[in-house]
Assembly symmetry: C2
Homo-oligomer: 307 residues x 2
Protein backbone atom coordinates (compact mmCIF):
# COMPACT_ATOMS: atom_id res chain seq x y z
CA UNK A 1 0.00 0.00 0.00
CA UNK A 2 1.18 3.54 -0.61
CA UNK A 3 0.89 6.48 1.71
CA UNK A 4 0.84 10.21 1.01
CA UNK A 5 2.16 12.38 3.83
CA UNK A 6 1.41 16.09 3.81
CA UNK A 7 3.22 18.21 6.35
CA UNK A 8 6.20 20.34 7.21
CA UNK A 9 9.78 19.59 6.25
CA UNK A 10 11.85 21.94 8.33
CA UNK A 11 14.94 22.96 10.18
CA UNK A 12 14.70 22.66 13.96
CA UNK A 13 17.00 24.07 16.63
CA UNK A 14 16.36 22.39 19.95
CA UNK A 15 17.46 23.04 23.50
CA UNK A 16 16.77 20.53 26.25
CA UNK A 17 18.20 20.29 29.78
CA UNK A 18 20.66 17.78 28.26
CA UNK A 19 22.09 19.81 25.39
CA UNK A 20 21.31 21.83 22.29
CA UNK A 21 21.50 21.46 18.53
CA UNK A 22 22.22 23.76 15.60
CA UNK A 23 19.72 23.69 12.74
CA UNK A 24 18.94 20.03 12.17
CA UNK A 25 16.45 18.15 9.99
CA UNK A 26 12.92 18.37 11.39
CA UNK A 27 9.28 18.78 10.43
CA UNK A 28 6.20 16.60 10.87
CA UNK A 29 6.34 15.02 7.39
CA UNK A 30 9.97 14.10 7.94
CA UNK A 31 9.28 12.11 11.12
CA UNK A 32 6.09 10.59 9.68
CA UNK A 33 7.87 9.63 6.47
CA UNK A 34 10.87 8.04 8.15
CA UNK A 35 8.64 6.09 10.57
CA UNK A 36 6.55 4.77 7.67
CA UNK A 37 9.70 4.07 5.65
CA UNK A 38 11.07 1.99 8.53
CA UNK A 39 7.99 -0.23 8.08
CA UNK A 40 8.79 -0.57 4.34
CA UNK A 41 5.78 1.47 3.34
CA UNK A 42 5.98 3.41 0.08
CA UNK A 43 5.71 6.90 1.64
CA UNK A 44 5.30 9.97 -0.58
CA UNK A 45 5.77 13.43 0.89
CA UNK A 46 3.99 16.62 -0.17
CA UNK A 47 5.72 19.67 1.28
CA UNK A 48 7.77 22.76 0.50
CA UNK A 49 11.35 23.81 1.31
CA UNK A 50 13.66 26.68 0.36
CA UNK A 51 16.86 26.81 -1.67
CA UNK A 52 18.77 26.41 1.61
CA UNK A 53 17.49 22.84 2.10
CA UNK A 54 20.46 20.51 1.54
CA UNK A 55 20.31 17.79 -1.11
CA UNK A 56 21.86 15.56 1.56
CA UNK A 57 18.57 15.62 3.52
CA UNK A 58 16.55 14.72 0.44
CA UNK A 59 18.98 11.87 -0.22
CA UNK A 60 18.55 10.72 3.36
CA UNK A 61 14.78 10.55 2.93
CA UNK A 62 15.16 8.71 -0.38
CA UNK A 63 17.39 6.20 1.35
CA UNK A 64 14.52 5.42 3.72
CA UNK A 65 12.37 4.70 0.67
CA UNK A 66 10.57 8.04 0.79
CA UNK A 67 9.40 9.58 -2.49
CA UNK A 68 10.30 13.30 -2.34
CA UNK A 69 8.92 14.30 -5.78
CA UNK A 70 6.13 16.17 -4.00
CA UNK A 71 8.53 18.34 -2.00
CA UNK A 72 8.56 21.62 -3.88
CA UNK A 73 11.85 23.48 -3.72
CA UNK A 74 11.60 27.28 -3.94
CA UNK A 75 15.20 28.29 -4.78
CA UNK A 76 14.83 31.91 -3.73
CA UNK A 77 13.00 31.03 -0.48
CA UNK A 78 14.08 29.80 2.93
CA UNK A 79 12.98 26.58 4.63
CA UNK A 80 10.55 26.71 7.58
CA UNK A 81 12.55 27.08 10.79
CA UNK A 82 11.46 26.33 14.36
CA UNK A 83 13.52 26.78 17.51
CA UNK A 84 12.36 25.70 20.95
CA UNK A 85 13.57 25.18 24.48
CA UNK A 86 12.24 22.43 26.74
CA UNK A 87 11.76 23.07 30.44
CA UNK A 88 13.33 20.89 33.08
CA UNK A 89 10.28 18.65 33.30
CA UNK A 90 10.43 18.03 29.50
CA UNK A 91 6.61 18.21 29.40
CA UNK A 92 6.47 21.85 28.38
CA UNK A 93 8.51 23.99 26.04
CA UNK A 94 8.92 27.58 24.88
CA UNK A 95 8.95 28.35 21.19
CA UNK A 96 11.89 30.67 20.58
CA UNK A 97 11.58 31.15 16.81
CA UNK A 98 8.92 30.30 14.22
CA UNK A 99 10.04 31.48 10.78
CA UNK A 100 7.36 30.23 8.39
CA UNK A 101 9.38 31.31 5.33
CA UNK A 102 8.26 29.28 2.29
CA UNK A 103 5.53 27.62 4.36
CA UNK A 104 3.64 30.94 4.52
CA UNK A 105 2.55 30.54 0.87
CA UNK A 106 2.45 26.76 0.75
CA UNK A 107 -0.07 25.62 -1.84
CA UNK A 108 0.23 21.85 -1.95
CA UNK A 109 0.22 20.14 -5.33
CA UNK A 110 -0.30 16.38 -5.40
CA UNK A 111 1.97 14.93 -8.12
CA UNK A 112 0.21 12.71 -10.70
CA UNK A 113 2.30 9.77 -9.52
CA UNK A 114 0.86 10.10 -5.98
CA UNK A 115 -2.81 10.05 -7.00
CA UNK A 116 -3.26 6.29 -6.73
CA UNK A 117 -2.23 6.29 -3.04
CA UNK A 118 -4.70 4.63 -0.72
CA UNK A 119 -3.56 6.07 2.61
CA UNK A 120 -3.30 9.77 3.42
CA UNK A 121 -1.69 11.33 6.48
CA UNK A 122 -2.45 15.02 6.97
CA UNK A 123 0.21 16.41 9.29
CA UNK A 124 -0.62 19.45 11.41
CA UNK A 125 -1.11 22.38 8.97
CA UNK A 126 -3.71 25.07 8.18
CA UNK A 127 -7.05 23.24 7.84
CA UNK A 128 -7.56 24.82 4.40
CA UNK A 129 -4.33 23.29 3.14
CA UNK A 130 -5.34 19.91 4.54
CA UNK A 131 -8.65 20.19 2.72
CA UNK A 132 -7.06 21.17 -0.60
CA UNK A 133 -4.95 18.02 -0.48
CA UNK A 134 -7.95 15.75 0.07
CA UNK A 135 -9.72 17.41 -2.87
CA UNK A 136 -6.87 16.64 -5.28
CA UNK A 137 -7.39 12.88 -5.02
CA UNK A 138 -9.42 11.59 -7.99
CA UNK A 139 -10.59 8.72 -5.77
CA UNK A 140 -10.86 9.25 -2.01
CA UNK A 141 -8.06 7.35 -0.20
CA UNK A 142 -9.17 4.33 1.80
CA UNK A 143 -8.04 5.89 5.05
CA UNK A 144 -7.38 9.54 5.91
CA UNK A 145 -5.67 10.34 9.21
CA UNK A 146 -5.48 13.96 10.31
CA UNK A 147 -3.36 15.63 12.95
CA UNK A 148 -4.13 19.12 14.20
CA UNK A 149 -3.61 21.35 17.22
CA UNK A 150 -5.31 23.89 19.52
CA UNK A 151 -3.93 26.81 17.44
CA UNK A 152 -6.43 26.04 14.65
CA UNK A 153 -9.27 25.70 17.19
CA UNK A 154 -8.52 29.26 18.26
CA UNK A 155 -7.99 30.78 14.80
CA UNK A 156 -9.78 28.70 12.14
CA UNK A 157 -12.70 26.95 13.87
CA UNK A 158 -15.05 26.65 10.89
CA UNK A 159 -12.36 25.50 8.47
CA UNK A 160 -11.14 23.01 11.04
CA UNK A 161 -14.58 21.47 11.60
CA UNK A 162 -15.02 21.15 7.85
CA UNK A 163 -11.84 19.07 7.42
CA UNK A 164 -12.52 17.06 10.56
CA UNK A 165 -15.77 16.06 8.89
CA UNK A 166 -13.84 14.69 5.89
CA UNK A 167 -11.38 12.33 7.65
CA UNK A 168 -11.46 8.84 9.17
CA UNK A 169 -9.10 9.25 12.10
CA UNK A 170 -8.33 12.40 14.07
CA UNK A 171 -5.22 12.56 16.31
CA UNK A 172 -5.04 15.26 19.00
CA UNK A 173 -3.85 15.52 22.59
CA UNK A 174 -6.08 15.31 25.69
CA UNK A 175 -6.22 19.06 26.25
CA UNK A 176 -7.19 19.59 22.62
CA UNK A 177 -9.87 16.87 22.82
CA UNK A 178 -11.35 18.70 25.79
CA UNK A 179 -11.21 22.05 23.99
CA UNK A 180 -12.69 20.68 20.76
CA UNK A 181 -15.59 18.95 22.53
CA UNK A 182 -16.17 21.17 25.55
CA UNK A 183 -16.20 18.02 27.69
CA UNK A 184 -13.83 17.16 30.54
CA UNK A 185 -14.48 13.42 30.49
CA UNK A 186 -12.47 11.91 27.62
CA UNK A 187 -15.21 9.32 27.10
CA UNK A 188 -17.73 12.08 26.48
CA UNK A 189 -15.23 14.13 24.49
CA UNK A 190 -14.59 11.16 22.19
CA UNK A 191 -18.31 10.61 21.65
CA UNK A 192 -18.81 14.25 20.63
CA UNK A 193 -15.77 14.33 18.35
CA UNK A 194 -16.75 11.09 16.62
CA UNK A 195 -20.17 12.70 16.00
CA UNK A 196 -18.30 15.46 14.11
CA UNK A 197 -17.31 12.96 11.41
CA UNK A 198 -14.23 10.83 12.10
CA UNK A 199 -14.92 7.17 12.79
CA UNK A 200 -11.88 6.97 15.07
CA UNK A 201 -10.22 9.31 17.54
CA UNK A 202 -6.68 8.93 18.84
CA UNK A 203 -5.92 10.96 21.96
CA UNK A 204 -2.16 11.40 22.41
CA UNK A 205 -1.05 11.90 26.01
CA UNK A 206 2.73 12.02 25.52
CA UNK A 207 4.51 10.31 28.40
CA UNK A 208 1.09 9.11 29.63
CA UNK A 209 0.33 7.04 26.53
CA UNK A 210 -2.48 7.14 23.98
CA UNK A 211 -6.17 6.27 23.75
CA UNK A 212 -7.99 4.95 20.67
CA UNK A 213 -11.78 5.33 20.43
CA UNK A 214 -14.43 4.32 17.96
CA UNK A 215 -18.15 4.69 18.62
CA UNK A 216 -18.27 1.64 20.88
CA UNK A 217 -14.81 0.70 22.14
CA UNK A 218 -11.75 2.21 23.76
CA UNK A 219 -8.15 0.99 23.81
CA UNK A 220 -5.28 2.35 25.85
CA UNK A 221 -1.56 2.05 25.13
CA UNK A 222 0.93 3.33 27.71
CA UNK A 223 4.11 5.10 26.79
CA UNK A 224 7.10 2.95 27.68
CA UNK A 225 8.86 4.30 30.79
CA UNK A 226 12.33 5.15 29.49
CA UNK A 227 15.76 5.38 31.07
CA UNK A 228 16.61 8.36 28.84
CA UNK A 229 14.21 11.08 27.76
CA UNK A 230 16.46 13.31 25.75
CA UNK A 231 14.33 15.28 23.26
CA UNK A 232 10.55 14.92 22.83
CA UNK A 233 10.56 16.80 19.47
CA UNK A 234 8.88 14.70 16.79
CA UNK A 235 7.53 12.05 19.15
CA UNK A 236 3.90 12.76 18.22
CA UNK A 237 4.73 12.75 14.50
CA UNK A 238 6.72 9.54 14.81
CA UNK A 239 3.74 8.01 16.61
CA UNK A 240 1.44 9.10 13.77
CA UNK A 241 3.86 7.76 11.17
CA UNK A 242 4.17 4.41 12.90
CA UNK A 243 0.38 4.25 13.30
CA UNK A 244 -0.61 4.93 9.70
CA UNK A 245 2.52 3.16 8.43
CA UNK A 246 1.47 -0.05 10.16
CA UNK A 247 -2.06 0.24 8.76
CA UNK A 248 -0.75 0.87 5.24
CA UNK A 249 1.73 -2.00 5.52
CA UNK A 250 -0.93 -4.50 6.65
CA UNK A 251 -3.80 -3.04 4.60
CA UNK A 252 -6.14 -3.84 7.52
CA UNK A 253 -8.11 -0.91 8.97
CA UNK A 254 -10.16 -2.82 11.57
CA UNK A 255 -10.28 -1.60 15.19
CA UNK A 256 -8.24 -4.65 16.28
CA UNK A 257 -5.51 -3.76 13.82
CA UNK A 258 -5.61 -0.09 14.83
CA UNK A 259 -4.75 -1.27 18.36
CA UNK A 260 -1.63 -2.92 16.96
CA UNK A 261 -0.89 0.23 14.96
CA UNK A 262 -1.07 2.30 18.16
CA UNK A 263 1.48 0.00 19.79
CA UNK A 264 3.80 0.24 16.75
CA UNK A 265 3.49 4.02 16.77
CA UNK A 266 4.20 4.19 20.52
CA UNK A 267 7.20 1.89 20.18
CA UNK A 268 8.68 3.97 17.36
CA UNK A 269 8.10 7.21 19.24
CA UNK A 270 10.02 5.79 22.21
CA UNK A 271 13.15 5.69 20.03
CA UNK A 272 12.66 9.26 18.86
CA UNK A 273 12.74 10.74 22.38
CA UNK A 274 15.98 8.95 23.27
CA UNK A 275 18.09 11.09 20.90
CA UNK A 276 18.03 14.55 19.33
CA UNK A 277 15.85 15.06 16.26
CA UNK A 278 15.41 12.10 13.92
CA UNK A 279 18.63 10.43 15.06
CA UNK A 280 17.01 7.83 17.34
CA UNK A 281 14.38 6.87 14.77
CA UNK A 282 16.90 6.67 11.91
CA UNK A 283 19.03 4.14 13.76
CA UNK A 284 16.46 1.44 14.53
CA UNK A 285 16.12 -1.89 12.82
CA UNK A 286 13.39 -4.54 12.94
CA UNK A 287 14.95 -6.34 15.86
CA UNK A 288 15.05 -3.16 17.99
CA UNK A 289 11.42 -2.48 17.18
CA UNK A 290 10.27 -6.01 17.96
CA UNK A 291 12.14 -5.98 21.28
CA UNK A 292 10.37 -2.82 22.29
CA UNK A 293 6.97 -4.15 21.26
CA UNK A 294 7.58 -7.14 23.52
CA UNK A 295 8.33 -4.68 26.33
CA UNK A 296 4.92 -3.09 25.74
CA UNK A 297 3.24 -6.47 26.06
CA UNK A 298 5.05 -7.20 29.31
CA UNK A 299 4.38 -3.74 30.71
CA UNK A 300 0.60 -4.14 30.71
CA UNK A 301 0.18 -7.90 30.92
CA UNK A 302 -1.72 -9.23 33.95
CA UNK A 303 -3.80 -12.26 34.63
CA UNK A 304 -6.79 -12.19 36.96
CA UNK A 305 -9.25 -15.03 37.39
CA UNK A 306 -12.56 -13.66 38.57
CA UNK A 307 -15.12 -15.70 40.52
CA UNK B 1 -5.12 -12.16 56.91
CA UNK B 2 -5.57 -9.04 59.01
CA UNK B 3 -4.57 -5.52 58.14
CA UNK B 4 -3.79 -2.54 60.34
CA UNK B 5 -4.49 0.84 58.76
CA UNK B 6 -2.99 3.96 60.31
CA UNK B 7 -4.20 7.28 58.98
CA UNK B 8 -6.63 10.13 59.25
CA UNK B 9 -10.34 9.80 59.97
CA UNK B 10 -11.77 13.18 59.15
CA UNK B 11 -14.50 15.52 58.08
CA UNK B 12 -14.16 16.79 54.51
CA UNK B 13 -16.00 19.63 52.82
CA UNK B 14 -15.57 19.40 49.06
CA UNK B 15 -16.34 21.72 46.16
CA UNK B 16 -16.07 20.52 42.57
CA UNK B 17 -17.35 22.07 39.34
CA UNK B 18 -20.34 19.73 39.78
CA UNK B 19 -21.45 20.60 43.30
CA UNK B 20 -20.40 20.93 46.92
CA UNK B 21 -20.83 19.05 50.19
CA UNK B 22 -21.19 20.01 53.83
CA UNK B 23 -18.90 18.22 56.28
CA UNK B 24 -18.92 14.58 55.21
CA UNK B 25 -16.99 11.50 56.28
CA UNK B 26 -13.43 11.55 54.94
CA UNK B 27 -9.82 10.74 55.82
CA UNK B 28 -7.25 8.38 54.35
CA UNK B 29 -7.87 5.55 56.84
CA UNK B 30 -11.59 5.72 56.13
CA UNK B 31 -11.17 5.15 52.39
CA UNK B 32 -8.45 2.55 52.88
CA UNK B 33 -10.52 0.71 55.48
CA UNK B 34 -13.72 0.64 53.43
CA UNK B 35 -11.83 -0.53 50.31
CA UNK B 36 -10.19 -3.35 52.27
CA UNK B 37 -13.50 -4.16 53.97
CA UNK B 38 -15.15 -4.50 50.54
CA UNK B 39 -12.62 -7.28 49.86
CA UNK B 40 -13.64 -8.99 53.14
CA UNK B 41 -10.32 -8.23 54.77
CA UNK B 42 -10.26 -7.85 58.55
CA UNK B 43 -9.20 -4.18 58.60
CA UNK B 44 -8.27 -2.49 61.89
CA UNK B 45 -7.93 1.28 62.04
CA UNK B 46 -5.58 3.27 64.26
CA UNK B 47 -6.57 6.94 64.30
CA UNK B 48 -7.96 9.76 66.42
CA UNK B 49 -11.20 11.77 66.31
CA UNK B 50 -12.92 14.37 68.48
CA UNK B 51 -16.11 14.29 70.52
CA UNK B 52 -17.92 15.72 67.49
CA UNK B 53 -17.39 12.53 65.47
CA UNK B 54 -20.79 10.84 65.12
CA UNK B 55 -21.33 7.29 66.35
CA UNK B 56 -23.18 6.78 63.07
CA UNK B 57 -19.87 6.98 61.16
CA UNK B 58 -18.22 4.46 63.48
CA UNK B 59 -21.23 2.17 62.98
CA UNK B 60 -20.88 2.59 59.24
CA UNK B 61 -17.26 1.47 59.38
CA UNK B 62 -18.14 -1.48 61.62
CA UNK B 63 -20.78 -2.49 59.09
CA UNK B 64 -18.02 -2.77 56.50
CA UNK B 65 -16.21 -5.14 58.87
CA UNK B 66 -13.74 -2.52 60.08
CA UNK B 67 -12.44 -2.78 63.64
CA UNK B 68 -12.53 0.73 65.13
CA UNK B 69 -11.13 -0.12 68.59
CA UNK B 70 -7.94 1.70 67.64
CA UNK B 71 -9.74 4.96 66.84
CA UNK B 72 -9.17 7.07 69.95
CA UNK B 73 -12.01 9.46 70.75
CA UNK B 74 -10.98 12.66 72.52
CA UNK B 75 -14.32 13.96 73.87
CA UNK B 76 -13.16 17.53 74.44
CA UNK B 77 -11.41 17.71 71.06
CA UNK B 78 -12.57 18.29 67.49
CA UNK B 79 -12.08 15.95 64.54
CA UNK B 80 -9.55 16.81 61.80
CA UNK B 81 -11.28 18.92 59.15
CA UNK B 82 -10.21 19.53 55.56
CA UNK B 83 -11.98 21.68 52.99
CA UNK B 84 -10.93 21.92 49.36
CA UNK B 85 -12.06 23.20 46.01
CA UNK B 86 -11.22 21.47 42.73
CA UNK B 87 -10.45 23.50 39.63
CA UNK B 88 -12.31 22.99 36.37
CA UNK B 89 -9.78 20.48 35.09
CA UNK B 90 -10.22 18.35 38.28
CA UNK B 91 -6.48 17.69 38.27
CA UNK B 92 -5.64 20.44 40.73
CA UNK B 93 -7.29 21.78 43.85
CA UNK B 94 -6.98 24.53 46.43
CA UNK B 95 -7.02 23.67 50.10
CA UNK B 96 -9.45 26.10 51.77
CA UNK B 97 -9.21 24.85 55.37
CA UNK B 98 -6.90 22.46 57.23
CA UNK B 99 -7.92 22.27 60.90
CA UNK B 100 -5.66 19.60 62.40
CA UNK B 101 -7.55 19.69 65.73
CA UNK B 102 -7.01 16.36 67.58
CA UNK B 103 -4.60 15.22 64.87
CA UNK B 104 -2.05 17.82 66.05
CA UNK B 105 -1.24 15.71 69.14
CA UNK B 106 -1.93 12.29 67.64
CA UNK B 107 0.18 9.67 69.38
CA UNK B 108 -0.91 6.37 67.89
CA UNK B 109 -1.40 3.42 70.24
CA UNK B 110 -1.67 -0.03 68.70
CA UNK B 111 -4.33 -1.99 70.64
CA UNK B 112 -3.18 -5.39 71.97
CA UNK B 113 -5.79 -7.06 69.74
CA UNK B 114 -4.14 -5.58 66.62
CA UNK B 115 -0.61 -6.80 67.35
CA UNK B 116 -0.94 -10.12 65.50
CA UNK B 117 -1.78 -8.35 62.21
CA UNK B 118 0.41 -9.35 59.30
CA UNK B 119 -0.26 -6.42 56.94
CA UNK B 120 0.28 -2.77 57.78
CA UNK B 121 -0.82 0.24 55.74
CA UNK B 122 0.70 3.54 56.81
CA UNK B 123 -1.49 6.31 55.42
CA UNK B 124 0.05 9.71 54.74
CA UNK B 125 1.02 11.16 58.17
CA UNK B 126 4.07 12.66 59.90
CA UNK B 127 6.94 10.21 59.27
CA UNK B 128 7.62 10.05 63.03
CA UNK B 129 4.08 8.83 63.69
CA UNK B 130 4.43 6.23 60.94
CA UNK B 131 7.65 5.02 62.56
CA UNK B 132 6.14 4.83 66.05
CA UNK B 133 3.43 2.53 64.72
CA UNK B 134 5.92 0.13 63.13
CA UNK B 135 7.86 -0.01 66.40
CA UNK B 136 4.80 -1.11 68.37
CA UNK B 137 4.54 -4.42 66.54
CA UNK B 138 6.11 -7.24 68.61
CA UNK B 139 6.76 -9.08 65.31
CA UNK B 140 7.29 -7.10 62.12
CA UNK B 141 4.26 -7.41 59.81
CA UNK B 142 4.81 -9.48 56.69
CA UNK B 143 4.19 -6.48 54.45
CA UNK B 144 4.33 -2.77 55.24
CA UNK B 145 2.98 -0.32 52.66
CA UNK B 146 3.59 3.38 53.21
CA UNK B 147 1.99 6.41 51.61
CA UNK B 148 3.54 9.87 51.93
CA UNK B 149 3.65 13.22 50.14
CA UNK B 150 5.93 16.06 49.07
CA UNK B 151 5.08 18.06 52.23
CA UNK B 152 7.23 15.69 54.30
CA UNK B 153 10.05 15.86 51.75
CA UNK B 154 10.13 19.62 52.31
CA UNK B 155 9.76 19.61 56.11
CA UNK B 156 10.95 16.28 57.56
CA UNK B 157 13.50 14.86 55.11
CA UNK B 158 15.61 12.86 57.59
CA UNK B 159 12.63 11.38 59.41
CA UNK B 160 11.03 10.50 56.10
CA UNK B 161 14.11 8.68 54.78
CA UNK B 162 14.30 6.72 58.03
CA UNK B 163 10.74 5.37 57.69
CA UNK B 164 11.13 4.76 53.95
CA UNK B 165 14.02 2.51 54.90
CA UNK B 166 11.71 0.43 57.13
CA UNK B 167 8.89 -0.39 54.66
CA UNK B 168 8.33 -2.86 51.81
CA UNK B 169 6.22 -0.77 49.43
CA UNK B 170 6.23 3.00 49.01
CA UNK B 171 3.34 4.74 47.20
CA UNK B 172 3.83 8.29 45.89
CA UNK B 173 2.89 10.28 42.80
CA UNK B 174 5.17 10.92 39.81
CA UNK B 175 6.13 14.45 40.87
CA UNK B 176 7.02 13.18 44.34
CA UNK B 177 9.07 10.31 42.89
CA UNK B 178 11.04 12.88 40.89
CA UNK B 179 11.52 15.10 43.96
CA UNK B 180 12.53 12.22 46.23
CA UNK B 181 15.08 10.83 43.76
CA UNK B 182 16.24 13.95 41.94
CA UNK B 183 15.73 12.06 38.66
CA UNK B 184 13.37 13.00 35.82
CA UNK B 185 13.21 9.52 34.27
CA UNK B 186 10.80 7.42 36.34
CA UNK B 187 12.90 4.33 35.58
CA UNK B 188 15.92 6.00 37.19
CA UNK B 189 13.81 7.49 39.98
CA UNK B 190 12.46 4.03 40.83
CA UNK B 191 15.95 2.54 40.91
CA UNK B 192 17.15 5.22 43.36
CA UNK B 193 14.09 4.97 45.59
CA UNK B 194 14.30 1.18 45.75
CA UNK B 195 17.94 1.63 46.83
CA UNK B 196 16.60 3.66 49.80
CA UNK B 197 14.99 0.53 51.24
CA UNK B 198 11.56 -0.42 49.84
CA UNK B 199 11.52 -3.54 47.65
CA UNK B 200 8.61 -2.11 45.65
CA UNK B 201 7.60 1.33 44.48
CA UNK B 202 4.11 2.29 43.31
CA UNK B 203 3.94 5.56 41.37
CA UNK B 204 0.38 6.92 41.31
CA UNK B 205 -0.45 9.09 38.31
CA UNK B 206 -4.14 9.77 38.99
CA UNK B 207 -6.10 9.84 35.73
CA UNK B 208 -2.94 8.60 33.97
CA UNK B 209 -2.76 5.30 35.86
CA UNK B 210 -0.13 3.73 38.09
CA UNK B 211 3.29 2.11 37.77
CA UNK B 212 4.65 -0.73 39.90
CA UNK B 213 8.41 -1.27 40.11
CA UNK B 214 10.70 -3.75 41.80
CA UNK B 215 14.43 -3.92 41.18
CA UNK B 216 14.02 -5.68 37.85
CA UNK B 217 10.49 -5.26 36.50
CA UNK B 218 7.89 -2.63 35.79
CA UNK B 219 4.13 -2.95 35.39
CA UNK B 220 1.71 -0.28 34.24
CA UNK B 221 -2.04 -0.08 34.93
CA UNK B 222 -4.07 2.65 33.25
CA UNK B 223 -6.87 4.48 34.98
CA UNK B 224 -10.18 3.57 33.40
CA UNK B 225 -11.48 6.44 31.25
CA UNK B 226 -14.76 7.38 32.95
CA UNK B 227 -17.98 8.95 31.78
CA UNK B 228 -18.29 10.82 35.09
CA UNK B 229 -15.42 12.27 37.09
CA UNK B 230 -17.24 13.86 39.96
CA UNK B 231 -14.90 14.11 42.95
CA UNK B 232 -11.30 12.84 43.02
CA UNK B 233 -11.07 13.08 46.84
CA UNK B 234 -9.98 9.76 48.32
CA UNK B 235 -9.10 8.13 44.99
CA UNK B 236 -5.46 7.61 45.97
CA UNK B 237 -6.43 6.21 49.37
CA UNK B 238 -9.04 3.91 47.83
CA UNK B 239 -6.37 2.70 45.42
CA UNK B 240 -4.02 1.98 48.34
CA UNK B 241 -6.79 0.21 50.27
CA UNK B 242 -7.69 -1.95 47.29
CA UNK B 243 -4.01 -2.70 46.68
CA UNK B 244 -3.07 -3.83 50.19
CA UNK B 245 -6.55 -5.28 50.74
CA UNK B 246 -6.11 -7.61 47.76
CA UNK B 247 -2.66 -8.65 48.98
CA UNK B 248 -3.98 -9.32 52.50
CA UNK B 249 -6.97 -11.24 51.16
CA UNK B 250 -4.84 -13.50 48.95
CA UNK B 251 -1.82 -13.66 51.27
CA UNK B 252 0.43 -13.64 48.20
CA UNK B 253 3.03 -10.85 48.03
CA UNK B 254 4.74 -11.87 44.78
CA UNK B 255 5.27 -9.29 42.01
CA UNK B 256 2.71 -11.11 39.84
CA UNK B 257 0.10 -10.79 42.56
CA UNK B 258 1.00 -7.15 43.19
CA UNK B 259 0.11 -6.52 39.54
CA UNK B 260 -3.38 -7.92 40.24
CA UNK B 261 -3.53 -5.83 43.43
CA UNK B 262 -2.78 -2.69 41.39
CA UNK B 263 -5.68 -3.51 39.06
CA UNK B 264 -8.02 -4.11 42.02
CA UNK B 265 -6.93 -0.80 43.58
CA UNK B 266 -7.42 1.05 40.29
CA UNK B 267 -10.84 -0.49 39.76
CA UNK B 268 -12.00 0.46 43.26
CA UNK B 269 -10.67 4.01 42.89
CA UNK B 270 -12.70 4.39 39.69
CA UNK B 271 -15.88 4.03 41.77
CA UNK B 272 -14.72 6.59 44.33
CA UNK B 273 -14.32 9.40 41.77
CA UNK B 274 -17.81 8.86 40.34
CA UNK B 275 -19.55 10.20 43.49
CA UNK B 276 -18.84 12.58 46.36
CA UNK B 277 -16.73 11.28 49.26
CA UNK B 278 -17.03 7.59 50.13
CA UNK B 279 -20.48 7.27 48.52
CA UNK B 280 -19.34 5.60 45.28
CA UNK B 281 -17.09 3.13 47.11
CA UNK B 282 -19.72 2.26 49.72
CA UNK B 283 -22.24 1.25 47.09
CA UNK B 284 -20.24 -1.32 45.13
CA UNK B 285 -20.68 -5.08 45.26
CA UNK B 286 -18.57 -7.93 43.92
CA UNK B 287 -20.33 -7.95 40.57
CA UNK B 288 -19.66 -4.25 39.99
CA UNK B 289 -16.01 -4.72 40.85
CA UNK B 290 -15.59 -7.76 38.60
CA UNK B 291 -17.25 -5.95 35.69
CA UNK B 292 -14.82 -3.10 36.02
CA UNK B 293 -11.82 -5.41 36.25
CA UNK B 294 -12.95 -6.99 32.96
CA UNK B 295 -13.03 -3.47 31.48
CA UNK B 296 -9.39 -3.02 32.53
CA UNK B 297 -8.44 -6.24 30.74
CA UNK B 298 -10.22 -5.14 27.57
CA UNK B 299 -8.77 -1.64 27.72
CA UNK B 300 -5.15 -2.77 27.38
CA UNK B 301 -5.52 -6.09 25.58
CA UNK B 302 -3.79 -6.37 22.20
CA UNK B 303 -2.36 -9.21 20.22
CA UNK B 304 0.68 -8.78 17.98
CA UNK B 305 2.51 -11.61 16.26
CA UNK B 306 6.11 -10.61 15.63
CA UNK B 307 8.28 -12.13 12.91
Amino acid sequence: MSLVVVGTVAFDAIETPFGKTDKILGGAATYIGIAAGKLNVDARIVSVVGGDFPQEYLDLMNNFGIDTDGIKVIPEGKTFFWAGRYHNDMNSRDTLVTDLNVLADFDPVLPESYKDSNFLMLGNLTPQIQQRVIEQFPVRPRLIVMDTMNYWMNTAWDDLLKVIGMVDVLTINDEEARQLSGEYSLIRAARKIIAMGPKYLVIKKGEHGALLFNNESVFFAPALPLEEVFDPTGAGDTFAGGFIGYLAKTGDISFENMKRAIIFGSAMASFTVEKFGTEGLQAINNGDLNDRIRQFSQLVQFDIELD
